[in-house]
Symmetry: C2
Amino acid sequence: MSSLGNSNNIFWQECPVGKLERQKLINQKGCVVWITGLSGSGKSTLAFALNRQLYSRGKLSYVLDGDNLRHGLNKDLGFSAEDRTENIRRVGEVAKLFADAGMICIASLISPYRKDRDACRAKLPDSNFIEASFLTKAVFMNTPLSLCESRDAKGLYKLARAGKIKGFTGIDDPYEPPLQCEIELQQIDGICRTPTAMSEQVVSYLEEKGYLEDQ
Amino acid sequence: MSSLGNSNNIFWQECPVGKLERQKLINQKGCVVWITGLSGSGKSTLAFALNRQLYSRGKLSYVLDGDNLRHGLNKDLGFSAEDRTENIRRVGEVAKLFADAGMICIASLISPYRKDRDACRAKLPDSNFIEASFLTKAVFMNTPLSLCESRDAKGLYKLARAGKIKGFTGIDDPYEPPLQCEIELQQIDGICRTPTAMSEQVVSYLEEKGYLEDQ
């Protein structure tokens, strides 16, 4: 846009601010914490607890909640296998942008199919190379179906059992647990752990990997 | 997820961190600066200059570039009127999330149709109420078609004139200039302004409206 001498055809392209610079500004490393599990397994509860705990340490995180996004970005999508895949794909793309922006992005979605989660992971390579430092931390809420169903805070399992909701994960649509993931959260000896205890486990992981360090 | 007495059915929902808290953490106010104009009008150049200038003032901004997003989030979309609308809708939704996260989101897209830009604006009400403080700053790059075409850095106008690209904005698809917008950037007496001068104008606007103040 600048004019140089008599020429109007030479354009000076300002160098964009890079991820490393943004990370320096806010003293953290951008990454994605991907929380997967059945409906009622405690994904949102963990997401919010983690969000709060990171905030109390002066770290900027943002929750991408699957249900909320279905009212906005993904409101054109239903629950067919194809639409679920597209739902996850878009959330993965947005999570990648947030991580690139320098934020700790907490994505909380049932994300039942392994291939869809793997596709998101592939976008965000887990690597120690700083050029590829997007890291997907898969957190698997390994809460048994029976417990999720007994909670049924939203009454969805009841509707699914009555056949009023079709394609409900765990009832008439599969949930494929991760074959490998960074963090697995489960009930220990049948005792529910507090959200704080669970989010502390995730925070420790992030800390250990250097994501909370000053950049 | 916590157990309270003997009951496993009482769930404590951690309160999520709100926009105001995030804004306090990074000392700025989240908003969207939406840059619209013809191909070659200088949108990306302005976006990057603005990004750099805000960074030098310690403010966190992020560029959502229309072309880049077509390689990721919007890679399933073409250039039909319907697909353009969906393209803008998704970018508007993502920009809203970024503003909610507390960031100054710089969206740079041709966004040729008025109704599509208006739909994004409606998502992000311009208001002085802090509850509705998402602000869409429409920045209109009012660069004449003849100048954009003479630059033709990407060679797209040439292809469009030769009929090798169909539905090209300004050639065989309309660009509807804003009827009202916050900032209009144009050539003054035929002299190109520098990207820095133009981004300073946007920064002054943001400053005046309190978006760069400590929260």
